[in-house]
C-alpha cells in the first residue's frame, strides 16, 4: 500500500500540487487522472522520488520515503517498477538485455536463473521470441510491453505507469490496460497508472483519483463514475461523445 499525505509542489511562483492526499491499495489498479497540465506526472515523480515535494509524505507500506535516508530510499526504489510514457528502453541494449538489466544491477543471482526470469517476464507480456530484437525494431505497443516486463522482472511490489496508452491505437491500448490489470492481480502489487484515457478509466479503474489544477477533486471507483457530482470532473468525463452516449444509455 502506498499513502500520500499533503503533497505540495511549486515551481517558482507556480504551485502545481496543492496538498494531495490519497491511499493506493495493494492488488488494485489505482488511476490518477485529469486534464493535461494538471499535475499528474509531477505527483507521480514526487512519489518515486524523481522530484522532491516541497511538503508532504509518501509512505510505502509504513516506510516514509520522503524523509528517509539514502539507503532506505534505494531499498524502496528497488521494489519499484516503472513504465515510462515512451517505454524508456535503453537504445543500445536488446530486449533481453533491457529486461535482464535490473537483475544484473540489483541481484547476484546466477545467469541461468536471470535468463529464466527474463523469459518468463517476456512470456507474460506476450513477447516470447523478441529477446534479441533492438528497441528500434519494436512497435510502440511492443516497447510498452518490454517496459512492463522490465518493471516486473525483479518482482517489484509497486508498479507505476506513466500514460501507458499514449501513442497507441485503441486496440493495443486496451491490451496494455488489460495486461497491467492482470499483472496487478496476479503478482498482488500496488499499481498506479497516470492517464487521461477514458477507456482505461472505465476498464481498469479500481480506485480513481481525479486531479484538477493541482487539487484532488474526486476519488472513487469506475462503478461510481456516473454518479459524480463534481462539475469539473463531469466536464472531463463527458468531454467525448462516446462517454455521453454511455451516460445516456445508463440513465
Amino acid at each position: 500500500m502506498i499513502e500520500i499525505l499533503n503533497i505540495r509542489k511549486s515551481f517558482g511562483d507556480k504551485t502545481v500540487l496543492h496538498g494531495i492526499d490519497g491511499v493506493f491499495e495493494q492488488g488494485k489498479t489505482n488511476l490518477i487522472i485529469g486534464t493535461s497540465g494538471t499535475g499528474k506526472s509531477v505527483l507521480l515523480k514526487c512519489m518515486v522520488g524523481l522530484i522532491s515535494p516541497d511538503e508532504g509524505q509518501v509512505i510505502y507500506d509504513g516506510r516514509d520515503f520522503t524523509n528517509a535516508d539514502r539507503a532506505t530510499i534505494t531499498s524502496i526504489r528497488r521494489e519499484i517498477g516503472m513504465l515510462f510514457q515512451g517505454g524508456a528502453l535503453f537504445d543500445s541494449k536488446s530486449v533481453q538485455q533491457n529486461v535482464i538489466f535490473p537483475l544484473d544491477m540489483l541481484t547476484q543471482m546466477p545467469l541461468d536463473e536471470k535468463l529464466d526470469r527474463v523469459n518468463s517476464a517476456l512470456q507474460r507480456v506476450g513477447l516470447e521470441n523478441a529477446n534479441q530484437k533492438m528497441p528500434s525494431e519494436l512497435s510502440g505497443g511492443m516497447k510498452k510491453r518490454v517496459g512492463i516486463a522490465r518493471a516486473i522482472v525483479n518482482n517489484s511490489k509497486y508498479l507505476y505507469c506513466d500514460e501507458p496508452n499514449s501513442g497507441l491505437d485503441p486496440q493495443t491500448a486496451i491490451l496494455i490496460d488489460e495486461l497491467i490489470n492482470e499483472i496487478t492481480i496476479e503478482y498482488n502489487i500496488t499499481t498506479i497508472v497516470v492517464t487521461h484515457d477514458m477507456n482505461s478509466v472505465m476498464g481498469i479503474g479500481d480506485n480513481i483519483l481525479y486531479l484538477y489544477e493541482g487539487r484532488k477533486l474526486w476519488e472513487g471507483t469506475n462503478k461510481e463514475l456516473f454518479n459524480v457530482d463534481v462539475k469539473e470532473f463531469r466536464e472531463f468525463l463527458y468531454a467525448n461523445k462516446l462517454m455521453q452516449a454511455v451516460k445516456n444509455q445508463n440513465m
Binding site: V48, G49, L50, R70, I73, T74, S75, I76, R77, R78, I80, M82, F84, Q85, G86, A88, L89, F90, D91, F101, P102, D104, M105, L106, Y160
Partner: protein
C-alpha cells in the same frame, strides 16, 4: 558560478555511491573501444598533417643560413610534445568524443532512460559518467602518444619529400637536446585534458532538459566548454610545471 558549483556536485555524485566494481569493468572496456579506437583515425589524420605543416612552416620561417637545418625537426619535436600532441588532439577529442558523450546522455535524459535508472535505485550519474571518464583517462594518453609519433612522422615525410631537410638531419634534430621531462609533461596534460573533456561532456549531457533541440545545444556546449577548459588548464599547467 552556479554552473561550476553544479559541475562539482555532479563530480561528487559520480564518485560517491558507486555500483559494484564488476558492473563497471565491461562498461569501461566498451567505452575504451568506443572512445579510443573510435577516435584513432581522426587523431591520426590531424596529427600527421599538423606535424607536416609545422615542419614546412618552420622551414619557411628559418631564413638565416647560420641556423642549422636540424633545428627544424627539433622545433617540430618540442612543439609536438609540449603543445600539438596533447592540446590539439584534446580539441579534436572534445569535438569527436565530447559531443558524442553529451548527445548520448542528453538523449537518454529526454527519453526518460536516466529517470528509469534512478527509479531502479541506481546512481545514474556514477553509472553513466564513471565508465566514460575512466575510459577517457585510459585511452586519451595513448592517443596522445600515437599523435606525437604520427606528428613527427608527418614532419619527416613533409620535410624529406619537399627537400627542406634531409632524413639524417631530421633524425638528428629530433634526438638533439632531448628533454625527457617534456614527455612526462605531455602525459600529465593528457590526463588532465581527458578528465576535463569527459567530465564536462557528461555533465552537459546529463543535465539536458527539453527535446532534440536541447540535445544539440548540449553537444555544442560540451565542445565549447571543454575547449575553454582545455586552454585554461593548458596555460595553468604550463605555468605550474614548466
Amino acid at each position: 558560478m552556479r554552473g561550476i558549483g553544479r559541475y562539482f556536485l555532479f563530480l561528487k555524485n559520480v564518485v560517491s555511491k558507486r555500483e559494484r566494481f564488476k558492473i563497471y569493468v565491461h562498461m569501461i572496456l566498451d567505452e575504451c573501444v568506443s572512445i579510443g579506437i573510435g577516435s584513432l583515425i581522426i587523431v591520426a589524420i590531424v596529427s600527421t598533417f599538423i606535424g607536416a605543416v609545422t615542419c614546412v612552416q618552420t622551414a619557411y620561417n628559418m631564413i638565416s643560413p647560420f641556423i642549422p637545418t636540424y633545428i627544424i625537426s627539433l622545433i617540430v619535436r618540442d612543439m609536438t610534445l609540449l603543445e600539438l600532441a596533447p592540446t590539439i588532439t584534446a580539441i579534436v577529442f572534445a569535438g569527436k568524443v565530447g559531443s558524442n558523450i553529451a548527445g548520448e546522455l542528453g538523449t537518454m535524459r529526454i527519453t526518460d532512460q536516466i529517470d528509469a535508472l534512478e527509479v531502479m535505485g541506481i546512481n545514474s550519474a556514477s553509472f553513466l559518467a564513471m565508465p566514460k571518464i575512466v575510459a577517457s583517462l585510459i585511452t586519451y594518453p595513448m592517443l596522445v602518444i600515437i599523435a606525437a609519433f604520427l606528428s613527427l612522422m608527418g614532419g619527416y615525410l613533409a620535410g624529406t619529400m619537399t627537400g627542406v631537410i634531409t632524413a639524417e638531419e631530421y633524425i638528428y634534430g629530433i634526438r638533439a637536446d632531448f628533454i625527457e621531462y617534456n614527455v612526462t609533461f605531455a602525459l600529465i596534460k593528457s590526463f588532465v585534458f581527458a578528465f576535463l573533456v569527459a567530465s564536462i561532456s557528461c555533465f552537459k549531457g546529463y543535465y539536458t532538459s527539453g527535446g532534440a533541440l536541447e540535445v544539440g545545444k548540449a553537444s555544442t556546449s560540451a565542445v565549447t566548454n571543454s575547449c575553454i577548459a582545455i586552454l585554461t588548464a593548458d596555460y595553468l599547467l604550463a605555468q605550474l610545471l614548466l
